[in-house]
Amino acid sequence: MALRLAASPLALSRSTPSLRLAAAMRSSSALNARVYFHATAGPVADSQQEDHVRMAYSRKGAADQGFRSSIAKNGRVGSIRAQNTHLSRSTASTAGQTSDEVTAAYKAVAYKTITPNQVHGSYHWDFERLLTVSMIPLFAASAIHGAHPITDGLLGVVVPIHCHMGFDAMVTDYLHPGNVGKWGNKAIVWTLRGVTVLALVGCYQFNTSDIGLTELVKRSWTA
């Protein structure tokens, strides 16, 4: 059901024993088993083997490079072995391929992998925690001292950004592309950004042309 490569009788009759074995393993493999090909050092493969191996991967430019660089590393493409295994990447290192190259070579078409970026990773986390920690003395100073242009101005920046990051986390969890589609998610994320900008503008205007955030809370609470 899966590989047309294996299903074609012509391909089967011309393929090497190792590939027929691989094809047989693949079509009869258990539900959660994965079949991997990797290149090993050994006798030089014929061009037909290379073609079969190339066709077995869903291709991107990186996959080509990954395969070629692994040839460069190993010197030659040896006999292609298939393994039936439940584990994921343990065979990659033995073939001299990095996990990125393996990932690029075996990339399924239904999903896109994202290159890790610290700006969206640990730096975002650091920024979020620093902001949250800064809110504690800010609220304390505002409550104790009352209205002051600096604390009000800072509140008008820090609180909207904190709210934005909270909403962003909720959108990532509940309104992701798998749920609402790629463009639905984009629309929601950009709407959130626009609303946050409006909130920042509103806070600035309120702090400058009106009584300020702390004074508003104080007056409306004791009204």
Partner: protein, 164 residues
């Protein structure tokens, strides 16, 4: 007929069997849109309704809910103030305080508690989260003790704020 064939070869294949093709062009035909359509029609397994109620995830859920509620209120006020001049609506501090002054005392105290409690709960639980980020209280006992502390303190402080 074509739909079921498509489903059998493209969408309903068991996990672990990779759908491979021998040409570049057919890859581009496999899009994510059918998967999204499937997910919209597929029912979710019960999750929140069947998991044993525990302080841990109840409080975590409440942290997110209160955060969202306070943030929605804050955004409504800020964005409302920003766009009010454009729609000709009078929305400034004086208008707000004069409207609040007309509300009866009992309703004011109740409303102040309803507004204060999410805020105090989210603040104190936020401090609990920050303590976890410094690796403190990362035991079952620590989580439960700090959890009860947050619940108690937030209620007490919300009552105190409502009576100001």
């Amino acid at each position: 007929m074509a739909k079921t064939t498509f489903a059998k070869t493209r969408l309903m294949a068991p996990v672990g069997i990779r759908i491979l093709s021998t040409s570049q062009s057919s890859q581009k035909e496999v899009t994510v849109a059918p998967l999204i359509e499937q997910r919209k029609n597929r029912p979710l397994s019960p999750h929140l309704t069947i998991y044993q109620p525990q302080l841990t995830w109840y409080m975590s859920m409440f942290h997110r809910v209160t955060g969202g509620a306070v943030a929605v209120g804050f955004y409504a006020g800020a964005v409302g103030y920003a766009v009010a001049p454009m729609v000709g609506m009078g929305f400034d501090a004086a208008a707000i305080t004069s409207v609040i002054a007309t509300v009866p005392v009992g309703a004011k105290i109740a409303a102040k508690f309803i507004v204060a409690y999410p805020f105090t709960y989210h603040c104190l639980n936020g401090i609990r989260h920050l303590a976890w980020d410094t690796t403190r209280f990362m035991t079952i006992k620590g989580v439960y003790q700090t959890g009860y502390a947050v619940l108690g303190l937030s209620t007490v402080s919300a009552v105190a704020l409502a009576l100001i």
